[in-house]
């Protein structure tokens, strides 16, 4: 590899370099980090945020934002626990469709539309659950379990969703249109892309992915709680941004988001292993998010 292509590779994979560096530092300070079981745990811990963040990637690439994914995850998990898992997925997709309709046909800013959904979905979760946690059935519990010793299903699901996301973004018309809409909505419209219809699907996908993430979370815990996944939307956005996507749209990749979610999980795991007090962990995580965004912005200059 020539110097230029190495530099190009490094600049396109800044987040990956950061992840490896982070892992290296933690491994040196606490060798137990590299224990196979611990690494699998990191993967499992990353899975919920990662799946949610994949859905968020579609929205962010298309120039929007989805603040409702945490609430949708909780609602989907609750519906799944009270009825059946697949119905949870349907509810998530429908919430996303409503988001999409508000944004495209209602012309609401995505921030406002999904902020409203954040509240509505959380409220509905509380209403349906009557404020109580509910046990999940065997199917949902299975999602959070180990397929075999050392083969956690959440990790496999994360990889599956990663593959699907990459496929949608790079190999489907919907994916290509996301980049066009996020890059220049006016040009997309004048090129004959039905921007409003595409947005419906984009937000529906985000809702669907959030619901899947919610079911995986409930499966791991064995129950769906009314306050589950509170604040997860911010982690999902952080993962997308750490992964190099631009909040102004048109830029973002599935690998970036995966790395972003892993950065957050590795960081949390490492801070625990290093016995950093939980209050301080928040400070460190915030600083890392700012640092990642800062490096990205420096790199672009």
């Amino acid at each position: 590899m020539t110097t230029i292509s190495i530099r190009k590779y490094a600049s396109e994979n800044g987040a990956l370099a950061g992840l490896l560096l982070l892992a290296l530092v933690i491994a040196i300070m606490q060798p137990a980090f590299l224990n196979a079981q611990n690494l699998l745990n990191v993967g499992v811990q990353a899975a919920v945020i990662a799946i949610m963040a994949f859905g968020m990637t579609f929205v962010v690439v298309a120039g929007g934002i989805d603040l409702s994914v945490g609430s949708i995850a909780a609602l989907a998990a609750m519906v799944g626990a009270l009825t059946a898992g697949p119905l949870g997925l349907v509810v998530g997709a429908v919430c996303g469709l409503v988001n999409g309709a508000l944004v495209s046909y209602g012309k609401l800013p995505p921030f406002i539309a999904t902020l409203a959904m954040l509240s509505v979905a959380r409220g509905l979760t509380l209403v349906f659950s009557e404020g109580q946690p509910h046990e999940t059935d065997a199917v949902v519990t299975f999602l959070g379990s180990n397929l075999a010793p050392m083969v956690p299903l959440p990790l496999l699901l994360m990889l599956a969703f990663f593959g699907i996301t990459g496929l949608i973004l790079t190999r489907t018309n919907l994916g290509r249109r996301m980049y066009a809409i996020g890059g220049n909505e006016e040009a997309a419209k004048l090129s004959g892309i039905d921007v409003r219809k595409q947005k419906l699907w984009i937000y529906a996908l985000s809702g669907l992915f959030a619901a899947a993430a919610g079911l995986v979370l409930a499966g791991r815990l064995g129950s769906a709680g009314p306050q589950a996944a509170v604040g997860y939307e911010l982690d999902a956005i952080a993962a997308v941004v750490i992964g190099g996507a631009s909040l102004s749209g048109g830029v973002g990749r599935a690998t970036g988001t995966l790395v972003g979610a892993l950065v957050l999980a590795v960081l949390r795991n490492g801070l625990n292993l290093l016995q950093v007090p939980p209050f301080w962990q928040q400070v460190v995580i915030g600083a890392v998010i700012a640092l990642a965004a800062l490096l990205d912005s420096l790199r672009r200059r």
Partner: protein, 469 residues
């Protein structure tokens, strides 16, 4: 001669491309120095190096005159008032608060200097683009800039606005300001230039005096002789492909009738604000209209439906290339396939990129291309869709001479294949030279139609006429 800034051997490298290669430039007091060159020749890079926005890799810049640049993208805050924009960053203050009275007192004097009569309390977003430009110039003058660099200021101006700007530039020259002027309009150069530095591929290929001929300038710029500026090859017109009948949008345009036949180029001329772009957008379904019909190849189109228009065989190259034509974050290839996503074909993509002579790889980000090549990408995305009728709205705005001729050749090729072209253009020689018929619009109506060979005076006479309602 009083040199304000002396640049010698300026070299600037971006990755593997050498944007500037040993360029010399003198900026003298009381002189208008024109920088001429095709897009991508290095003019803007040179300006950015002089302004200190880019560092240079080799060469020296001497001189201590303060320097102001009027960039193509205006640096005004639309939501603030004229006065606030004039004093942005150094607002007069009193007791720690903005001194509005002082601002109001000083603003008219500055505006006067550029011959602008606007209310200093008006918001900048409510002003026209020409007025905004004047405000930027006024602001630069208030900072006592010894050198004023104008990067394609006339690209967005109408003829009278351009006249006004040239007058002000002459005035500034009298006052001893050193001016650097970038423009693609050769007639403007002949009117104001004292010296012309021609750039090609990052090198200075010649310094000309004020009496240089157009032919000489063009040939230096493109590096080869050019036979004809408007090489229109006429076809025998076939059946009508685009029929706009009685198209009306109240308050915008009224009773527009335009018919374009197979093999024909129909031009739409008129002043800015005459409603030309609005008609083009309505015909293409971007905007709605009140009544009338638009038909492609005899089939009427539904109102306000871009998808249907495209399916019927219509295409639109919009006037604002970056704002409406391109996805700047995407590659050349991704932009080319924008219209034809449902029917992707990598081979045709590469074919079209080659045929259009786009200078740039298909995988390259489109924002790295020069304006002319970007415009070819926008046209290319439509050619892939194989339209019957293509509407071109200001297709050569901000495009250099060489690329212009290539776009004209493309128009010829399209009509030779039996397509129809509707050409909206503010460039009078172009719209007259390339059209088989010219429809002139004024105040939202068709003021008249002129056959091929019409003069600029005839077009202008129709364009400025008052139409009683």
């Amino acid at each position: 001669m009083n040199a304000l800034i002396t640049a010698r051997g300026i070299t600037k490298q971006f990755g593997t491309t050498r944007a500037l290669d040993g360029v010399d430039l003198d900026i003298n007091a009381g002189e208008v120095h024109v920088l001429l060159g095709e897009n991508g020749a290095g003019k803007s890079t040179l300006v950015k190096v002089l302004a200190g926005i880019h560092s240079h890799d080799a060469g020296t810049i001497e001189g201590n005159a303060s320097l102001a640049v009027i960039h193509q993208e205006l640096a005004l805050v639309p939501e603030l008032t004229v006065a606030e924009n004039l004093f942005l960053n150094r607002l007069p203050r009193r007791y720690g608060f903005v001194d509005r009275a002082e601002m109001r007192r000083r603003a008219p004097k500055l505006l006067d200097g550029v011959g602008l009569t606007v209310d200093p309390n008006a918001k900048v977003k409510d002003l026209g683009i020409a007025q905004q430009q004047m405000i930027e110039i006024a602001r630069a003058l208030d900072k006592n800039a010894g050198v004023l660099i104008l990067d394609e200021p006339t690209a967005v101006l109408t003829e009278t606005e351009t006249d006004r700007l040239l007058e002000i530039m002459a005035q500034l020259r009298e006052n001893g300001v050193g001016l650097v002027f970038i423009t693609h309009h050769l007639d403007e150069i002949q009117r104001i230039a004292d010296r012309i530095t021609v750039l090609r591929d990052g090198r200075s290929v010649g310094v000309l005096g004020p009496r240089a001929t157009t032919q000489h300038m063009i040939e230096l710029m493109v590096g080869r002789p050019i036979d004809e500026q408007y090489p229109r090859a006429r076809q025998r017109p076939g059946q009508p492909l685009l029929s706009i009948e009685n198209l009306t949008k109240r308050g915008v345009f009224e009773n527009i009738n335009i018919e374009v036949h197979a093999g024909e180029v129909v031009g739409i001329a008129g002043l800015v604000g005459a409603g030309r772009t609005e008609v083009a957008r309505a015909a293409f379904g971007v905007d709605g209209y009140d009544h009338g019909t638009v038909a492609v190849d005899g089939k009427p189109l539904p109102r306000h439906d871009v998808q249907a228009a495209i399916k019927a065989g219509l295409g639109l190259v919009p006037e604002d290339r970056k704002g409406q034509g391109l996805v700047l974050t995407a590659t050349v290839g991704q932009n080319l396939e924008l219209v034809t996503l449902d029917n992707r074909d990598q081979k045709r993509l590469h074919d079209i990129a080659g045929k259009l002579r786009i200078k740039g790889r298909v995988e390259q980000p489109v924002k790295e291309l020069s304006g002319g090549n970007q415009q070819k990408v926008v046209i290319g995305k439509w050619l892939l869709a194989d339209p019957k009728v293509l509407i071109l709205d200001e297709p050569t705005r901000g495009v250099d001479v060489g690329a212009k001729v290539e776009i004209y050749e493309l128009i010829n090729r399209m009509t030779a294949q039996g397509r129809a072209v509707l050409l909206v253009s503010s460039d009078l020689p172009e719209v007259i030279g390339m059209s088989d018929r010219v429809v002139v619009m004024a105040h939202g109506r068709v003021a008249g139609e002129l056959p091929k060979g019409a003069t600029q005076d005839q077009v202008m006479a129709l364009a400025v006429q008052e139409i009683s309602a």
